[in-house]
Each structure stands twice: as structure tokens, then as C-alpha cells.
């Protein structure tokens, strides 16, 4: 009453105005306008207009996420138009952290954020792909197969055994894969890199955490309707050039193998002579060309977000479809719905729920086709009209020429059909209650991820030859069901007194992960020529016996208690401390584990001596240390288990079981990480800089260890590993004048991984296949390639005669010369050494954005150096050597004195001496790529004849148009460094339209 009577005397006036964005002049809806020091306020409407009643001398504060807050003192104006300045790294920017948010300025750990509009530029089904090159220390290895996920590594390998993927926390739910999300549904991305930031998530966060919040509406926001869509095509890049018929025949003649020469003769007899060169058959098949195709991709999404005073909402649905570049039934299609609602029930109680439903159909490629196409000889046609017995399609078969394998990849591509129906629902709901308003808050949230993957593999009958045939069709059905739940409860207490700011968080989390796989296989489907009959019901009922129906499942539970203290003094001195205690049913021997973490920060720019320094607008030094226990280690049964078998006794299928003789009995890995960093903004905030140095030790390191005597591997705690690196990310943005503005961003990261301790008598651990050895030993990178060093190729007989090693091993010119490392005059196992590592030592990315009036252009690059790739395809000659080779080999092979000092001869290629794991098969995997180029034109919102026209943005995008590398393969992006048959990464060209109303 007093207030009102007082204000009645003050000079009241109404102020009107429009709030716009300084960078593009567009109106800003939803800007909060508050009379400073009061609770009175309003928000701008959809056209950026506002109106508020004030007294002269009041100060109006305009604030909006992503813009600098502005304060204007009211004098006598009645109109105040405000244009807010972009603030990419705003001081008040809030970052999503574990179980809460924190002001970016208060962070002490290494956390990067990515804006949703940066994600939308990448035309890919998987949102994670769009992070490539954007965050320092995050290495993304693309996957070209439609619907498949890229490999994401944050700061290299934190844990070998926990797989490569970080933990994705989507609206509170834990995921190891986010293939069900559409980029249009994502509000924000926070990448938590260091242990102190990740620690509160406990065991699963060992490879880093990416927190994703899906879209939500804003309070007092008029509904905004959007349409985003693009369509385009994908085309294979850097296709490996294979030896053509002429090169292949030349190599066959040089092979010293009569058989191979005979095969060429057989081909000439069957298919005739080439008119160009009568010594070669009249066939020259480029197998890669045959199996590749241009493949379309398109995406459409529509959505609306908005809010009133007490509720806000967001609805969105999207459709994505992509065909694979492998010329078979290979495609991916996904339909998504996302919705979220938040309701303020009372001053104290807030509830909300959101839901993402994704419904995808994926037809998996037959990846063996890539492998077969590499080996298939060019003197074999795809179709062979002479093969009259073949049905239903006269495919060729290399066996008719004498080769061991049938080689032609088309039968599997044509007669195999692999469909997956993938449905995922993420439903979550929360309730937040202010026990003490603005001080003590209780929040409970429940998330449930329910996913089913229904797999159907159909094998159709065909006949190509005696050894390439399928007389009886078959169908395999596998239903995988995942039901994962998380229930979190937290109490958050916030207090400020004097210059002290304090936030205390205490909470608990219960997690239940359940998996069930049911599968059955039947043969001889009636009416198999029609897809409508592809059900188990139509298979021969007698074909289900003998182990062809199975079910497996498991269920793990975890219960955690955690707490966090955030404290700051005068916005200068920062302290964060976290502790988490977690119990997990996966570790029966040691259920509970507790890990601490803390961080300190000093905002130097707040100190008086930094005032008006003219350079730094903001400078913070930060350091953190944290411990993590890694529990994402797969099953650790800790005991022998049994498995059922069936064997033939007297022609009767007879059941029995085998008890495993070894089993996993693991302790959790312990990660300790120290992170030192600085965050700064310079030159009127035009330049922002984040730099970090980290050292991470993985203790009780778990890797799959080859078991002596028997041929299997089990996970064991074997030693320690250290990863360290420097990450620097810088961004310069500037508006040159009203028409021109630009920003340049770049990031680099170094990575140095070495094994620091090995608990084995031998002093090392072996992994990988015996013929392609990988070894982990102290002082070397984990799983380093291990073999012999090629120092040259014997050129002539004289050289052979002068080298006792060559004589002892019956070598001939054209064979490899290996380094005799211990100088004992013999080449043996002791001469092996580390010959490469699949981990890059340097990963970088960059982004340039230029805008001129309505045009804007962005160019992103990415690359890495220092990683090696095992060209396993070349190495496979060890198992089958009558096959084709890549053109690089054909051209560079040794074929006479002086022709090569690094490639063996065609004959030598087939000798065990030259096939051993050596530097010849390990190649440099460095690459530079133009990641993405996007040119856009925006038609701003306007009103024509009283009708409001939407904002329209047209885009042309070239994704991954150019990759430069020296490696002899399709792509240098090979996650584990072993290149056998990866799906090539296509370039994607699209045209897109975005409409906003």
C-alpha cells in the first residue's frame, strides 16, 4: 500500500520501444526488461516491441541470452529503441554442468560449449558428427554408413576397455550413442573434458561427458514456427584406385606363379582378348566403380516453441532419409517427435516433462563388399553370360578362372537383406520445489530410455556356381530390447553473504540398465520372393531346432550419492569441489567406490591492478584435479560361467555345456586428471581464448589381454597409462561495418599417450590378431603397432650375396630388407619394434565465417597428424594372394633394379618373408580436410500488403568436399587404426531452406 501511494506521487510515464540485435538489426523477442532494483518488468514481444511504465530516473536493464546486458537511465524519452550487442562469451552465460548449471565465468574445469546453429550446418543423421573440428581435444572419426555413429574421442583414449564413446547425458538420461536425436531438437551441447567436471557423473563419465539439452520454450515467448529442410546427394571421395586389367596381368606374369598365369589364360579363353593389348583378357572391371553409387540425402523438420507466463512448450518433428553409397538395399530413414513442457504450478513448485521418440528403419550394408571389391580381380566381369546355370542373375564367379574365392561381391549385395527397425523413446519428467524460496531447492527427476532394435536378416536363394550358391533361403530375427532408467534426487542450497557466494548440491541417483536379446533363425521361407512372407512363421518349422532360438539378457544396477560445493569470493576467487560414491552390481568384489574432485579459479581481470589494462576484458586462471572410477568395463562376472552347445552324437543333435575356464574379474579403472587452464577475452571481447593443459593417468588400466595357450582374450587390469596434451581454442569476431562482419575460430590439441606401467612378467601386453601384432609397453603408446622395420628392397644378386641374412633366408631381389636391430646377423622376433600408433598427436580444426548484408559464408576445416593406419587390406595377402592389388602397389612395385626401394616385387608380395607385420603395412594417417562450406542467403522477415512474410534462409552446403592425405585407402578416418573394410566417407552436397515465422 505504501509503495503504491508513493509511486502515485512519482511522475509516471509509458515508455515504448523496439529491441533489436546490433549484428543483424533483427528484432529480438523475449528480451527481459526490468526496472533495476525492483521486480517490475516486461519482455519484448515477437517484433521486439515492448512497453513499460516507469518513473523518470529509473534505470532499465535489458537482458537476453547471448547478448550483452544493457542499462539505460530514463530521462524524458517516451521511446527507447535499444540495439543489443552480441556477446558470444557472455559473462553471465550459463553452462549446463552435471545436475545443474553454472555461470561460465565461475567454471574451474575444462568445459566447451557448442551452439545449436553450428550443429545444424552439417547434413548428417548423427549430431555428434557435427562436432568434428569444433572443439579442441575432441576427435571425431566419421562413419559413412547411413545411420551409423561416428567415433568420438575426448582427449584420446581415457579407457581402452570402456569403448571409444563419451557418455551422452540427454535430459538426464545416460546414452552411449545419440543416433536418435535430430539436430533441430537440440538446444545446447556442453562438452565436459576434464575429470573434475566429469566426476559428478561417476563411473560412466570416464571418456568425457557431452551434456545435451533438448529444445524448450521460453517464458513469455510468442510462438515461433520453424521449418528446416535440405536435400542433396552423397558421392564417394578418394576412391582407391585399383590395378586395372593390364597392370594386374603384368603382376600376374611377374608373380612366378604358374597358376596365376594360367588363370589369366583361362580368362582370355573365356572372355576373349583385348583388342588393345592381345595379352590381356577383354575384361577390365573397376570393382569399386561397380559397387558405388550417388546416394540422396534429405531432411525436413518443423517445430514450434513458445511460452506464457506460467508455462512454456516446444514441439518438433523431423524426418531424415539417406541412402548409402553402396549399391544395394542400404538406407536409413528416421522419423522423430520431440516435445517438452514446463509448468510453474505455484511460486514454489515447477514441473515439467519432455519426450523424444525416434522411429528409424535402417538397411545395413554388406561391408564385406568393400573388402571383396578390393581383392576381386579386374579380369572378371560382374555378369557372365556364359554362366547359364546361374539363377536368377548370371553373376560371374572367379572360380571358373581357377581362383580360390568367388570374389564377386554382387551375390551378397543382391541376395542379402539386413533390416533393422530401431525405436527409441526417451521420456523424462521432473519436479522442482523451493523448500526455502531462492535458497533451498529440491528436485526429483526420472528418465526412462526404452529402445528396441528389431533385426531381420533375410538370405535369398541363388545359384552362381557350386561354391557361390544358397539353395535354401533363411531368415534371422533378433529383437533387442533395452530398458534403462535413472532416478535423480537433488537438494540445492544457494546462499550469498557479503562477497561470498555459495552453492551446495547434495543428491542421489539410482540407475537400472536392462537388456534382453531374443533371436531365432528359420530356413526355407515359403514364398520367399515376396517380402510379405519374410516372417519366421513361413519358415520350415523343423528348421528351428538345434540352437537356433536363443535369448540372452543382463541387468545392472547402480546407486550413487554425490555432493558439490561451489564457492566464489568477490567473483575473483573460485572453488569447486565434488565427491561421488557409487555402488555397482557389476563389481561383486568391490561394490562401492568413492571419488573426489576439486577445482580452483582466479579471475585475474577482477583484480584492481588489471583495471583498464586495455587488453584483457576477462582473464581467468584455473586449475583442477579429479579422480574417476571407470565402471563401463563390460561384464565382470568374477566367476566361471557356462554356455550350452549342441553336437552330433550318432546323427542326433545332442545337448551339453561347456564351462568357461577363464573369466573377467576386474577392478574399476581409476583415472586421475590434473587440468590447468586459462580463459580470456581480449580487445573488447573480439578475441576469446581458452587454453588447457592436462595430464591424465589411467590406473589399473583395463585392456583385453591375449590368453596364453588358448586363443581368447579377456579384460584384465594390467598397468597404467598417461595421456597429456595442450588444447587451445581461439575465436576472433568483428563487425567491420554495417554490411561486413566476420569471425575466425581455430582450435588445436596435442595428444601424447604412453603406457607407464605394465604388471606382467614379460613387460608388455599383446592385443590384436597375432599376424598383425599390437603391443603395449612402457614408454610407448597403448596398442602400438609392433613389427619389423623395412629399410629397403634388395636390388640385385650381388646385394643378396653380400648379405648373410639374405642368403640364410633364400631371398631374391625384390624382397624386403629388414633392420637387424640387435645386430646379431639374423632377422627374428627380437628385431621387432614399435612401428606406429593409431592415436593422432595433433588434432586441429578451424572455422571462418563472413557475412555481407544478407549473405553469409562459413568454411570449416579439420585435420590431424601423427596417427598411423595399418593397411590391413594389403596385409590380407597373407591369407589369400591370388587377388588384385591397389594401383599404387602395381605402379610402385619393385620390378627390376632401381624401380623401388620400398615396395616388394609381385613375386615377393606372396612370400611370408615380405608379409610379416612391417612398416610397409603401416602408413601415415595424417589428413587435412575442408570439413564444411556453407553459403547462405537470408530474406529477412517483412510485411507485404499487411501480410507478415516469414524469414527465409537459403543454404548451399558442401560437407567434406575435399580431403587430402597420403594413405592408400578410402579414408584416413579409421577409428582403431586397422583398415580392413570401413565404409567410405562420402562428400555431401545439399541445398537447404529454413523458414521462421
Amino acid at each position: 500500500m505504501l509503495f503504491f501511494s508513493f509511486s502515485a506521487f512519482a511522475q509516471q510515464m509509458d515508455i515504448n520501444g523496439v529491441v533489436t540485435s546490433k549484428s543483424d538489426g533483427l528484432p529480438l523477442p523475449g528480451v527481459s526488461i526490468i526496472v533495476k532494483g525492483t521486480t517490475r518488468g516486461t519482455t519484448s514481444d515477437f517484433d521486439g516491441k515492448y512497453s513499460i511504465s516507469v518513473s523518470s530516473g529509473d534505470q532499465l536493464e535489458y537482458s537476453y541470452l547471448g547478448f550483452k546486458t544493457m542499462v539505460i537511465t530514463v530521462e524524458n524519452q517516451t521511446t527507447i529503441d535499444v540495439s543489443l550487442e552480441d556477446d558470444v562469451e557472455s559473462l553471465n552465460e550459463v553452462v549446463v554442468v552435471g545436475y545443474g548449471t553454472q555461470k561460465k565465468a565461475d567454471l574451474t574445469g575444462a568445459i566447451s560449449t557448442v551452439k545449436s546453429e553450428d550443429i545444424a550446418r552439417t547434413p548428417n543423421s548423427n549430431v555428434a558428427q557435427s562436432l568434428q573440428g569444433k572443439v579442441a581435444g575432441v576427435q571425431i572419426t566419421s562413419n559413412g554408413s547411413p545411420g551409423d555413429s561416428p567415433t568420438v574421442r575426448i582427449r584420446g583414449v581415457g579407457s581402452y576397455a570402456a569403448g571409444n564413446n563419451p557418455l551422452y547425458v540427454v535430459d538426464g538420461m545416460f546414452y552411449d550413442n545419440i543416433d536418435f536425436l535430430d539436430s533441430s531438437q537440440i538446444e545446447s551441447f556442453s562438452v565436459l573434458k576434464d575429470a573434475s567436471s566429469v566426476s559428478i557423473f561417476g563411473q560412466k563419465g570416464v571418456n568425457g561427458v557431452i551434456i545435451i539439452e533438448t529444445k524448450r520454450g521460453r517464458k513469455e515467448q510468442k510462438p515461433v514456427f520453424t521449418y528446416n529442410g535440405y536435400t542433396g546427394f552423397q558421392t564417394a571421395q578418394n576412391v582407391v584406385k585399383m590395378a586395372n586389367a593390364e597392370q594386374f596381368v603384368t603382376m600376374a606374369y611377374e608373380s612366378g606363379s604358374d597358376a596365376d598365369i594360367q588363370f589369366v589364360e583361362n580368362a582370355i579363353q573365356r572372355y576373349g582378348r583385348s583388342r588393345v593389348n592381345p595379352n590381356i583378357p577383354n575384361v577390365n572391371t573397376d570393382w569399386y566403380d561397380e559397387i558405388l553409387r550417388l546416394a540422396p540425402v534429405s531432411s525436413h523438420s518443423i517445430g514450434v516453441t513458445g511460452g506464457s507466463e506460467n508455462a512454456n512448450y516446444s514441439f518438433n518433428s523431423s524426418y531424415f532419409s539417406q541412402e548409402g553409397i553402396l549399391d544395394m538395399k542400404n538406407e536409413y530413414e528416421r522419423f522423430n517427435i520431440q516435445s517438452s513442457v514446463d509448468i510453474k504450478v505455484s511460486d514454489r513448485l515447477k514441473v515439467g516433462a519432455n519426450m523424444v521418440f525416434s522411429n528409424a528403419t535402417k538397411y545395413n550394408p554388406e561391408n564385406s563388399a568393400w573388402f571383396q571389391a578390393y581383392f576381386a580381380v579386374p579380369i572378371l566381369p560382374v555378369y557372365d553370360e556364359l554362366n547359364t546355370e546361374a539363377t536368377p542373375i548370371p553373376f560371374s564367379d572367379a572360380r571358373v578362372l581357377g581362383y580360390r574365392g568367388s570374389q564377386n561381391p554382387f551375390p551378397v549385395m543382391t541376395f542379402n537383406n539386413n533390416r533393422l527397425k530401431i525405436k527409441k523413446i526417451l521420456a523424462s519428467a521432473y519436479m522442482e520445489y523451493q523448500l526455502i524460496p531462492d535458497k533451498l531447492k529440491f528436485r526429483t527427476s526420472y528418465s526412462h530410455d526404452f529402445s528396441t532394435i528389431s533385426e531381420r536378416n533375410v538370405r535369398l536363394p541363388y545359384f552362381v556356381s557350386q561354391n557361390s550358391q544358397r539353395e535354401v533361403s533363411s531368415i534371422r530375427r533378433a529383437n533387442q530390447e533395452y530398458s534403462n532408467q535413472i532416478w535423480d534426487n537433488t537438494l540445492t542450497y544457494t546462499e550469498s553473504f557479503g562477497k561470498h557466494n555459495l552453492t551446495l548440491l547434495a543428491g542421489s541417483s539410482f540407475r537400472d540398465e536392462q537388456r534382453n536379446v531374443f533371436q531365432a533363425t528359420g530356413d526355407n521361407i515359403r514364398g520367399v520372393q515376396l517380402e510379405s512372407s519374410w516372417y519366421l512363421n513361413f519358415a520350415d518349422p523343423t528348421s528351428f531346432g538345434n540352437d537356433r532360438v536363443s535369448e540372452i539378457g543382463d541387468r545392472f544396477y547402480s546407486l550413487s550419492y554425490f555432493g558439490r560445493l561451489e564457492y566464489s569470493y568477490d567473483d575473483k576467487y573460485l572453488l569447486n569441489a565434488t565427491v561421488r560414491t557409487e555402488g555397482d552390481s557389476k563389481f561383486p568384489r568391490e561394490i562401492w567406490v568413492t571419488t573426489p574432485a576439486f577445482g580452483l579459479g582466479w579471475v585475474v581481470s577482477e583484480e584492481s591492478f588489471m583495471e583498464d589494462n586495455g587488453i584483457f576484458d576477462f582473464l581467468k586462471l584455473r586449475g583442477s584435479w579429479g579422480q574417476l572410477a571407470n565402471g563401463a568395463l563390460g561384464d565382470s562376472s568374477g566367476t566361471r560361467t557356462i554356455s550350452n552347445i549342441t553336437t552330433a552324437i550318432d546323427d542326433i543333435p545332442t545337448d551339453g555345456f561347456i564351462s568357461s575356464s577363464n573369466y573377467q574379474d576386474l577392478e574399476r579403472e581409476i583415472l586421475e586428471e590434473t587440468n590447468l587452464g586459462l580463459s580470456a577475452r581480449l580487445f573488447d571481447s573480439k578475441l576469446s581464448l581458452e587454453a588447457d593443459y592436462y595430464i591424465r593417468d589411467t590406473k589399473k588400466l583395463v585392456i583385453p589381454v591375449d590368453q596364453p595357450i588358448v586363443s581368447n582374450t579377456i579384460l584384465e587390469n594390467v598397468g597404467e597409462m598417461r595421456t597429456q596434451g595442450i588444447e587451445i581454442a581461439a575465436n576472433w569476431s568483428q563487425m567491420l561495418n554495417d554490411n561486413w562482419s566476420f569471425s575466425v575460430a581455430g582450435n588445436i590439441a596435442t595428444l601424447n599417450n604412453e603406457v607407464t606401467k605394465v604388471n606382467s612378467a614379460a613387460g608388455y601386453f599383446d592385443t590384436g590378431q597375432a599376424e598383425f601384432r599390437q603391443r603395449s609397453m612402457v614408454g610407448e603408446p597403448i596398442e602400438a603397432f609392433f613389427g619389423w622395420e623395412v629399410v629397403g628392397v634388395y636390388q640385385n644378386d650381388e646385394e643378396i650375396q653380400n648379405d648373410p641374412i639374405a642368403v640364410a633366408n633364400d631371398l631374391v631381389p625384390g624382397d624386403f630388407k629388414y633392420r637387424d636391430r640387435n645386430g646379431d646377423g639374423e632377422i627374428n622376433a627380437d628385431d621387432r619394434t614399435v612401428i606406429g600408433s593409431y592415436l593422432p598427436s595433433f588434432v586441429y580444426g578451424g572455422n571462418l565465417q563472413v557475412s555481407y548484408k544478407q549473405f553469409d559464408l562459413s568454411v570449416a576445416i579439420a585435420g590431424q597428424t601423427g596417427n598411423d593406419i595399418l593397411n590391413r587390406r594389403r596385409g590380407e595377402v597373407l591369407f589369400t594372394n591370388d587377388t588384385n592389388m591397389d594401383a599404387d602397389f602395381a605402379i610402385n612395385r619393385w620390378h627390376g633394379e632401381g624401380t623401388s626401394n620400398s615396395y616388394p616385387s609381385s613375386e615377393g608380395r606372396r612370400k611370408a618373408w615380405n608379409q610379416r607385420m612391417s612398416t610397409f603395412f603401416v602408413e601415415d594417417g595424417s589428413f587435412f580436410r575442408i570439413q564444411n562450406i556453407q553459403l547462405a542467403y537470408t530474406i529477412p522477415q517483412s510485411t507485404i500488403k499487411g501480410i507478415k512474410m516469414p524469414e527465409v534462409r537459403l543454404t548451399f552446403t558442401a560437407d567434406r568436399p575435399l580431403t587430402l592425405f597420403n594413405y592408400n585407402g578410402f579414408t584416413p578416418e579409421v577409428a582403431n587404426g586397422i583398415d580392413r573394410q570401413p565404409y567410405p566417407i562420402p562428400a555431401v552436397y545439399t541445398f537447404g531452406v529454413n523458414i521462421k515465422l
Binding site: 581357377g402 533363411s474 543382463d554 552330433a648 551339453g656 612378467a761
Partner: protein, 511 residues
Amino acid sequence: MKKIKQLKWLTFLLVTCTVFYSCSDKLEENDGQVAADDLDFTQTGDMVLPLIGAYSEVYSRGWEDPILVGVRGDDVNAGGVGDAQGGLTNADLYNYDNNYWMFNQVWSNFYGDLVDIVNSGETIQRYKEFATGSDIALADQYIAETKVLSGFQHLQMSRLWSDIFIITTSNVSEDIDNGVDTKEEVMQYVSDLMDEAIPFLPDLRPNERTDVRGGVTKYTALAIKAMANLELENYQGVADATAEIIGSDKFMLYDDYYELFKEDGQLSNENLFELQFSDYGQATGDVNNHLFAPFGPPSWTPVVSTASSGWGFYEPSLKYIKFMIDRGDETRLVTSVCFTPRGMDELMSDPNYATLPSYVSNTTLDGDIFNDTTRFMFASGKHYWPSNQLTPGRNSYGSGKNFLVIRYAEILLMYAEALTHGASGSVLTADQAVNLVRERANMSPISGVTTDDVMDEKFAELGMEWGIRYFDMIRLNQYDELSYDGRTFTADAEYLPYPQDQLDLLPLENN
């Protein structure tokens, strides 16, 4: 009012805590697996299950196993010319590269099975602790059977690598810590293990068993004991063990030598041990087959035209064929060797064989025609399965074929050899034993047999089977026999080097 509201929230918190407390019980659960310790060992009727598991391990041999075991003899050459198996070809030429993948594969195949077999024996032992009445004896029998299977695997391993680790417990690290045992120790261990097993084993022919038909019996154990003693050159031990088999009068040579290796000969009265396989006579459903393709011809014209061909990795030698032609050993030659036209031309290019006997043909007795291929000149007939014996709808080479391992003919010949080395045996004379074998092959009887005669007979009778010829020759130091077709055999080539992968993993060293 406000207090009640607060109370409501406190109650909620309390309920939350209680629910959490009850959740913590879940941490002790381990869903979705059956621990070996959790089996109900009182269900003694189940104790046959681990035994079947042990059989399944022995039966499910890698394709490489019989190939590598057999390839070095002068009866067999490595086929697959122009293919990648240079390491196999080199092994055939006695040049061993211990990086060659097949060595490690065969090592791990045998050892992997061994550990599982021993483990099965231990599991049966736990059932035995709860067994009553006749189940106790049955448990003892099953345990004894696992010992026989273990003995067979040890024997094969030691023949290849000489000194190996003896596996006595499924906790292999103990055995590894004990280091390798010499071949002599391994063979003695096998012989003693058979002695341990024999009292508990059924006194039956394998095909007389009704519980596990075709499983091992007392006589299988005696046969393995004889083989181990043969390696030890303890000929009296060989004679005693074989005499017991012969004296049982349970076994007889199968009439038709050709059919012995085909469908009719499966589980015959001649067989002491065979690996059983089946496609169960049906076109659909899972099969339990051995991969016979490596033995098969890369190119043929089978009677059943859709029947798959093979890889051509295993080729009877010219030496063997000429030896058989010289003897006029028609029955065993046409059974043991399938000819291709190119192979026949190669034989005829030798003036001594310019005219081949009429029975040498590239059409088998079942009518399948073997065509020319660069891979090999001849296929192993004992590993050949006529296309007309395939189950309709099953086209893979040798689908459903059993793999014969120990047969009565070998017992007779081991017995005969032991006698020629001076051992005594009263069931038969050496002449009688050899002539029984010859008679079945339509060969005229001989008398006054010497060790060489027995070796010739073993060559003719057991060629291509399980490296028997090779192991005989290195035992008798007949390196000249192994030095054939340009090869030179020296003593240091008798055993394979340890695979590099195992050297890297184990306290092992190659000499």
C-alpha cells in the same frame, strides 16, 4: 497449515530414502548368466552335459588341424599352389616360419579344447560328490572319458611340438608355471592317464555304446596308450595294449575299404575313435560339420551338379601313388587318391608309368569327375565324400561326413610293428596281423614280415591319415624317406617351432 505442507515434503524425502535403501539390495544381483558354481550339482542326471561339452570340443576341430598334422609326410604334399598358404607349402618342405598364422591357430585349437576338456572333467567331479548308487560309477566313467579325450589332444600336440605344457587342471596358470615337459614325459603322462581311465570305461566297442554312441571306450584308451608307447618306442607296451584290443574280439576290419571312408563305414566295427558330424539328413536347420573343403577339389563335375567343390590344399604325393601302383594295391589306391587328368599326365610323363593301370581314372567309384586345377594334381580320397551321399539341400563338400581317427587296421599294424621290434604278443603273429589288413585290401598274404614290411603296409593302409606316416618316419629316423621330390629332411626339422605369438605370451623359448 504451512507446517503440514513442510511435513508433506519431509515425508516425501523419507519415502525417497527408503526406496533408495531397498534399491541397494539390487547391487548384489547378477542377472543373465549362469555361474558354473550355481549349477545344481544334485541333479546328477545332468552330469552327461559337461561330457557332451567335452566331446563337442574334440569334434569341433579347426580345418587347419588335420591338414597341418598330416602335411609333412611323404604321402602328402601341400596343395593350393598359387594360393596364399605359402607357410603350409613351406612346412611341407620342412621350412618353418614361426610367424605363420596356422601354427598358432593349431596350437590354440588343441590347447583351447584341452582346457575345456579338463574343465568338463572337474565339473563332472562336482556332480559326483552328490551322486548315489550307480551314478557314482557313471560319474567315474565320464571323468575317465574326459581323460581319454585329454590324452588324445596331448598326443597330437606333442607329436607336433615335442615339448609342451601338460594340462592337468583348468586353472592353466599352475601348469604353465611348471614349464614344458619333454615329449617323453608327455607320452608317459598320456600312457599313465589311459591306465587311470581304463578301469572305469565301458568294455564295449564305441558303436555298442547306447548312452553316447560312438564315444570312447576302454579300447579307445588302449589304442591311445599304444600310440603313446609307440612314440616312446616302448614296443612291449605297444604290443600289450594292442593285444588287449585284438584279444577282445570286438573289432573287425570293415569289408569294403572304399566304403569305410564313406557313409556306410561311419561307426563301423573297425572304428575305435571318430569325430562325429552330421547335417541330420535335413536341408534346413543348423549343422555340426567339419570343414572338409580344404581337402576337396577346386574343380569337379559331381554327379549332384550343385555339390560344392573344395580348396585343394592336401595332395597325395606322386611318391605314394607310384608306390601303390608298384604294389598293385588297387583297392587302397583308388580309395586313397582321386585323380585329375593333369595328375595322370604327370604320372605318365615318367616312362616307368607311361601306361597306367585301368583303375586309375579321374572318375571316382561314385561317378564324380575330378577336373584339372592348378591347385593340385590329386585329392585325398579318404577325405572325399561322394556328391550322391550329400543330404539334398546341403551342398558343402563333405557335409555330414565323420572324421575317422583311430581304426582297427592301425591297431593291427602297431601290434605287428611292435613284434618286429622284438616285443612279445600272443594273440596273433606279426604275419597274421599284417595279412588281416592285406586280405581286406585284396592283397596276397606275405610271410616273415620285417619292420620295413610293416612300414610299407602302414604307408599303404594309413596314407593321408593324421600324419601317421610322418611320425613313424621321424620315430625310426628314416629321413631318407622324407627326403623326396627335392626335399632334404634333417633332424632339426622333426618338430614345429613354437608359434611367435606363444613365445610372446609364455615362458617359452625355441631352440
